[in-house]
């Protein structure tokens, strides 16, 4: 890619440094911004709604009390929060499994076993969704047409009236941003070994 057009920089986001510095307003802001994603992760994985809410609460409490261990240079705040949430979800699933054994012993009643998708996949999805939302409008719009409407580059050019070459460049840049972000913030960062498609 030669002489890439300079995309406008996203607005300066000082949430992460403020969070690290212990600015209480930043905790609320982080919750407003990322509470949805953490709760989604928890509700995707845990059958019991109150467990999911509790994990969400515990995630933000742990993040706030442990903010000294967050290094903004190593990843985003949402990536870090989802990492904490993911481990708390797994702890909770293990605890429920133990509890279910108790239940069966005491009352011969089985609680519904926790069900759900791979937590890493849910985290990766949320990270990609977050990055998609940060992309410049043109890039996001075209990727959404490709992802959600399964349109080809040519069809996107037709639908949007944007020249094919421009569509290509938006999609290529958008994909590159998503990939970079996924490699930094994904649940198992770094490119997966070839031939393991969908195996995670």
């Amino acid at each position: 890619m030669t002489a890439p057009r300079q995309e406008p920089d996203p607005p300066v986001d000082d949430l992460a440094p403020r969070f690290c510095a212990g600015d209480e307003a930043a905790l609320r802001e982080a919750y407003d911004r990322y509470g949805r994603a953490v709760l989604h992760l928890a509700t995707s994985m845990l059958a019991n709604r109150s467990d999911a809410e509790d994990v969400t609460q515990a995630t933000f409490v742990a993040a706030w009390l442990g903010r000294g261990t967050f290094d903004p240079a190593k990843g985003s705040l949402i990536g870090w929060l989802l990492g904490i949430g993911r481990r708390k979800v797994i702890d909770r699933m293990r605890a429920s499994a133990r509890e279910t054994r108790v239940v069966e012993t005491v009352r011969q009643l089985a609680e519904p076993a926790p069900t759900g998708p791979d937590p890493d996949r849910v985290v990766d999805r949320l990270v990609i969704a977050d990055e998609l939302a940060r992309l410049p409008d043109d890039q996001r719009r075209m990727l959404e047409l490709a992802f959600y409407d399964d349109l080809t580059h040519q069809q996107i050019a037709t639908v949007t009236g944007v020249p094919l070459g421009t569509v290509k460049s938006h999609i290529r840049r958008g994909m590159a941003s998503l990939k970079r972000r996924w490699e930094v913030d994904g649940a198992a960062p770094g490119p997966r070994p070839a031939g393991l498609s969908g195996a995670r």
């Binding site: 890619m1 919750y31 509470g35 949805r36 994603a37 953490v38 709760l39 989604h40 109150s50 467990d51 509790d54 969400t56 609460q57 515990a58 933000f60 409490v61 742990a62 993040a63 706030w64 009390l65 442990g66 903010r67 000294g68 261990t69 967050f70 290094d71 190593k74 870090w80 990492g83 904490i84 481990r87 702890d91 605890a95 429920s96 133990r98 509890e99 108790v102 239940v103 012993t105 005491v106 009352r107 009643l109 996949r121 999805r125 990609i128 998609l132 990727l143 490709a146 992802f147 959600y148 999609i171 994909m175 998503l178 990939k179 996924w182 490119p191 997966r192 070839a194 498609s197 969908g198």
Partner: protein
């Protein structure tokens, strides 16, 4: 070797075209392009799955209130990180302090966790005598859990556990109890069990709180609950929370039967 054009890789990743013969040959022989394509395919697959994630519902406000309450409680005591720093400089050992007191945890099979708790418990030199002599089992239980997590994920960026709460358990409605009933149990650093309950069904008798060992199903009563939403119950100083890890709230009758009625209203498992 000329790598495949990046636009082509994106096309292939989005499934717009199939690789032609030349491209397939190149991909077979070029790890760089193969890895790049693989990553782009993963990203494209994830991209497809993000539909709807931009419009997730707001979390309920009570979660936020819970966060604030827990943060306030935790900030009222020194952090575990600070305590660990003290540990490095304080040569006092818990072993000496607990000699002669009745507080040795006697958990068969928990020796590993116990010794971990003991070494970490050195930092508790500044605590009350109670803490110095008796909290080893509680600490062992809580730290045992943390230790396991660290081993599983050596680069675990998870922050240090909250200092005020050594272990906690969300309590959920059990059995036929209305689902609105719920609560939280927290083992506080001072050896108390903080219980918060909501929407417990009315019972003719009273509520009783238990700790249960899920392996052996042995249990003991921690106390009774009054009409308040919150209760602080002292735990036996030598309790082994690693074993007695299930918190249970039962409905009991004034029937001269001190054993658990079998009618559990809330239940949850402690985790560190």
């Amino acid at each position: 070797m000329q790598h495949l054009d990046h636009d082509r890789l994106v096309f292939l990743a989005l499934g717009e075209t199939e690789a032609d013969n030349g491209e397939s040959t190149h991909l077979d022989n070029c790890a760089h392009c193969r890895v790049e394509l693989q990553a782009l395919r993963q990203v494209a697959g994830l991209g497809v799955e993000t539909q709807g994630l931009a419009d997730l519902p707001d979390p309920p406000e009570h979660i936020w209130q819970g966060i604030v309450a827990e943060v306030r409680a935790a900030e009222a005591v020194p952090s575990l990180t600070e305590a660990r720093r003290q540990q490095a400089t304080e040569p006092v050992t818990i072993v000496q302090r607990s000699n002669g007191s009745a507080a040795k945890p006697h958990t068969p099979g928990a020796s590993g966790a116990e010794s971990g708790g003991r070494s970490r418990a050195r930092r508790r030199g500044g605590w009350s005598r109670w803490a110095a002599s008796t909290v080893a089992a509680v600490a062992a239980a809580a730290i045992g859990v943390v230790g396991t997590v660290s081993v599983l994920r050596p680069d675990d960026p998870e922050p240090a556990p909250t200092p005020a709460v050594l272990a906690s358990a969300p309590l959920a409605a059990f059995g036929s109890t209305p689902k609105a009933a719920q609560g939280d149990a927290r083992i506080l650093q001072n050896g108390q069990l903080h219980l918060h309950v909501a929407n417990l069904p009315r019972v003719p008798g009273y509520y009783e709180v238990w700790l249960i060992n899920p392996t052996t199903m042995q249990m003991f009563s921690v106390g009774t609950l009054g009409g308040d939403a919150d209760a602080l119950l002292p735990l036996p100083p030598n309790v082994d929370l690693k074993s007695y890890s299930v918190v249970d709230v039962s409905a009991e009758q004034y029937d001269n039967k001190p054993a658990h009625s079998g009618d559990s209203l809330l239940r949850g498992t402690l985790t560190g």
